[in-house]
Amino acid sequence: MEDKRQWGALMAAAQGGDARAYRGLLGELRPWLLGYYRRRLPPAQVEDAVQDALIAIHDKRHTYDPARPFAAWASGIARYKWIDRLRSSARAPDGAAPIEFAVEGHESAVTSATVLTAMLATLKPQQAEVIRLVKLMGFSIEEASARTGQSESLVKVNIHRGLAKLATAANDDKEGERADG
């Protein structure tokens, strides 16, 4: 499909004001960003995340150094915007829409489930349990409280702390994925 080795050259041209090169670059970045966020976010958030990342790439295009690999730069922006969304989820009201992971592609769904299981395993069991119930399975706070025996306040606190811990873990993950380039 796209030749990632040329992305740096396209961005360098875009920094000089070449709109055609820039349109081509963003057009090639879009499917890569879709794949990136499909592995990390629920389907309802993917398109918004892609657009956020495209806008960030546009706003911060002067921070790309043409002498350095473009993929690492673009990956850094995509990752920052992903972590931003995790933080927003942690701050969101507990009644926010539940997280539903991708089912469009089997491979993507398996990847998402594997990543999510690994991340939830780092939390306290009480936190992981209520996040599964409320954010993944769509139960209300009251229902999660009844199922787990935790008070409603404790369910909210555990969701908040669990999501915050996931965001921190993702932020500290120095082995985070880079683009394939």
Binding site: E47, I55, H62, T63, G76
Partner: protein
Amino acid sequence: MPMADALIDRLAADLPPVRPRRASREFGVLLGVAAIEAVLILVLGLARPDLGPVMPPMFWWKLAAPAALGVLATATALRALDPARRTVGVRWLGLLALAALGVGWALAGVEPMGDLDPDLGLRCVVAATIFSVPPALALGVLLRHGAPSHPSRVAVAAAIAGGAWGAAFLGLHCPNDGVMHALLWHSFGIALPALAAALPLTRAARW
């Protein structure tokens, strides 16, 4: 996805040329701000009255230790404004600060310990805070311009840089070369402005 296509068209339609950022160029800007401030301190008569070519070791410590911290913290912050950078290196700044304090304490063998002199000490902290404003503002502008992976850590490095630059200029201003005074009040002269600047710089670094 028509919305994404429309967004791409809109972004590409408004495409003024941009100058790629260079950490080295921004570092030069910071050094320029520092040099201008140092000249202003001398020209405006804010330097200590006995300033001359031969000064006691503690004078040089008060100047060089925070200046070294300021240079390193500035370089650390500016280097981390690249989204591809996953680490910041704030810990090194703590180690350098401890080493500088160790050197200062070692000067107790050749310099008078002096006393704490709280009145002058408080004035020194206020002066350091004022002196830290120009470099901290310049760093805030540069942070706003960058795209750090870890805004809060970068802001800490920048806040330390601002405080350290302020304390370095305080070294030109403060006439007390006592060890106790320098170690306590000049350290506060770094720490307090850094604490005050950390929050606004964190906001500046977010994007």
